[in-house]
């Protein structure tokens, strides 16, 4: 997608800069952009390493298994047709927990495994099933407990209270996720 959007953004900006007489600013921005990219990367560097280290500990302990039992009532509501013994049940659970904890690089491979298992039981191989739909909608909605990247960026910009946004983010996340879940439940009956 970026292969189309990226050149489009730059070319229309170039044309607009000529027409609006902002050529000098446009020219300067090409150089300052590089410095800004370096700044943001340095900002993220420490935080990314810290959480990757912590999440590695999570992956090596029994915390994930412990949390799996906690979310089983939610799983029952989201995926009523799945049984606990099903292979995809376990894969979906672990994917959701990895998302909650913000282990993105572990969540995606697990999620793809769950998709593969669900696809094996799918009678129409080119059409998405209800369970898959719910699973994908959950993954497109945010589940992350600690928004580490946002906090890192806020801190680098000199925020007085970088983590002030955590509870509001939880509230918004819950409302948005419920909207996605309700939409999926309703639409899956009609389409």
């Amino acid at each position: 997608m970026l292969n189309k959007i990226w050149p489009f953004f730059i070319i229309i900006s170039f044309i607009f800069a000529i027409l609006s007489g902002n050529m000098e600013e446009f020219n300067n921005s090409l150089f300052t952009s590089c410095g800004e990219a370096v700044d943001l990367t340095i900002t993220l560097f420490g935080t990314m390493c810290l959480w990757n280290g912590l999440m590695k500990i999570v992956q090596e302990t029994s915390l994930i298994q412990r949390l799996s039992t906690l979310i089983s009532p939610i799983m029952k509501f989201l995926f009523p047709k799945l049984r606990k013994e099903d292979k995809e049940y376990k894969e979906i659970t672990i994917n959701i927990i990895a998302n909650l904890l913000g282990i993105g690089n572990a969540a995606t491979p697990l999620g793809l495994k769950a998709m593969k298992t669900m696809q094996e039981k799918n009678p129409n191989k080119d059409t998405i099933t209800d369970n898959m739909a719910m699973f994908i909608v959950l993954n497109t909605a945010s589940l992350q407990l600690i928004p580490t990247t946002v906090i890192a960026v806020r801190m680098s910009l000199g925020s007085a209270e970088p983590s002030k946004i955590i509870v509001p983010i939880w509230i918004v996340t819950i409302i948005a996720d419920i909207a996605g879940i309700i939409a999926t439940k309703i639409l899956s009956k009609k389409f």
Binding site: S13, S29, K56, I57, V137, Q144, I146, T173
Partner: protein
């Protein structure tokens, strides 16, 4: 109410780190070795995303400096005002479902311009923390198993995004 929320927000990160470390101790793991190992993997992730961030900064910088972004924002301001959504946040709302690093760059720019602790800065932070890269996620998950008919999935996911963005603005209008 706001004080309680602030307190819980401040407690969240230390609590999560505490639980992780205690669990590591209970399970008798060499947690420092594991931590260092994981942190090292984090380094390569950051190095890998740098070229993407550079490219996006270039494009966003171009849009901003040419004046086109401001022109678009001004022209749609009357629509967003109707639902109480600040027009300054619109560029982020449009890019968020499409590109993760792109929206991170735009969010950083908006916070820099209007102040990280201003209402706009807080709304932007909340959107970033409560939504995901919808299009990318759907593409990766469906294409990995060769699914072509995704039925209503894009609509349902975008409904969740839209609700999340509007709620982000509403919540800071209430408590902010």
């Amino acid at each position: 109410m706001t004080n309680v929320m602030n307190y819980i927000s401040t407690m969240a990160v230390p609590t999560v780190i505490g639980i992780i470390i205690i669990y590591g101790l209970i399970d008798k793991k060499n947690i420092f070795d594991i931590f260092v190992d994981g942190a090292g993997e984090g380094m390569s992730i950051v190095i890998k995303i740098f070229p993407t961030l550079l490219g996006i900064f270039l494009a966003i910088g171009a849009l901003k400096s040419s004046g086109i972004l401001e022109a678009i924002t001004k022209n749609i301001a009357f629509i967003t005002k109707l639902i109480g959504f600040p027009s300054e946040v619109v560029p982020l709302a449009l890019l968020r479902p499409i590109s993760g690093s792109g929206s991170l760059v735009v969010a950083t720019e908006i916070m820099k311009t209007y102040g990280v602790d201003s209402k706009i800065g807080l709304i932007v932070s909340t959107i970033m923390g409560s939504t995901e890269t919808t299009f990318y996620t759907i593409a990766v998950y469906t294409s990995s198993v060769g699914i072509k008919k995704i039925r209503f999935v894009l609509a349902a996911a975008l409904i969740a995004d839209l609700v999340g963005m509007i709620t982000s603005a509403v919540i800071w209008n209430i408590i902010g």
